[in-house]
């Protein structure tokens, strides 16, 4: 699939997080951004369909809803 190039302006802290995620996930920085975009779109579509995004900690028997803007 054809790809387009863009410049991404990040703070040092944001770039640090991007570097860290790329290392942990064994991905390029482009790969991390691509995954983040896919995930954001998936969450947005499901929230728009009326679903909720919930984190669950089974060990602590705790659930919390994430509100995404």
């Amino acid at each position: 699939m054809a790809k387009k190039t863009m410049t991404l302006n990040l703070t040092d802290e944001e770039m640090g997080v991007l570097d860290d995620l790329a290392r942990k996930k064994d991905l390029s920085k482009t790969g991390v951004v691509r995954q983040a975009l896919r995930l954001y779109q998936m969450v947005d579509l499901r929230l728009r369909d009326g679903e909720k995004l919930i984190f669950e900690d089974e060990k602590k028997n705790k659930k919390s809803e994430v509100v995404v803007l």
Partner: protein, 196 residues
């Protein structure tokens, strides 16, 4: 949509037949798949109902409906692949590139391509008890190989995961070289497989 020439095996004589591997499927493609498969699926269901074959041996995807999966293709995370020969859909699959992560030791938490659904056309199913030999072979393997390629293209180094229907477990373990990582209570107790 991308189209690549491939060959599939005509089981009646073992001849390789030219076909097309389609990538980046759209929702309309899955609607077409279901339109083409629905009557064969229903006819097979009727033949199975009239037979003495134990229900546990019936094809386990008999109730699937690709129409209901069509809306998934509007998401960046979801990809679809299919095989077409003479304008007939012979096999189709859907993958998810963000929702699952590796469970393999040494790869834990790393991204993978999750093979969410894969099915061959009802006329390609082998059901010896009904005297049905599938028309074309190799379709499942070709799609699986394409999913591994997608994982490599994504930078996921070939990591692929899936939950297998019981009838397909041997295929994934023996033919695809995947590792069974236990039954998953969150997925109807289906066996989870992964490859790297």
């Amino acid at each position: 949509m991308n189209i690549e020439p491939i060959q599939i095996v005509r089981r009646s004589d073992g001849i390789l037949v030219n076909a097309q591997l389609l990538s980046n499927l759209k929702a309309t493609d899955l609607l077409m798949v279901e339109r083409q498969w629905e009557s064969s699926r229903q006819s097979l269901h009727q033949r199975l109902l009239g037979s003495s074959i134990d229900r546990r041996r019936w094809p386990q995807s008999l109730h699937w409906d690709w129409k209901s999966k069509a809306q998934l293709l509007g998401q960046l995370a979801i990809g679809g692949y299919g095989i077409v020969e003479s304008s007939e859909w012979q096999a189709v699959c859907l993958v998810d590139c963000v929702s699952y992560h590796s469970r393999l030791a040494g790869q834990l938490g790393k991204p993978l391509v999750y093979l969410d659904f894969i099915e061959i056309a009802p006329w390609n199913w082998n059901i010896p008890e009904l005297g049905q030999n599938g028309t074309y072979g190799a379709c499942g393997m070709i799609l699986f190989d394409r999913v591994v390629e997608r994982s490599i293209d994504e930078g996921f180094r070939g990591r692929v995961g899936l939950h297998a229907l019981p009838q397909a477990e041997a295929f994934y373990q023996d033919k695809c070289g995947m590792t069974p990582l236990g039954k998953d209570a969150s997925k109807q107790d289906l066996m989870y497989f992964e490859r790297f």
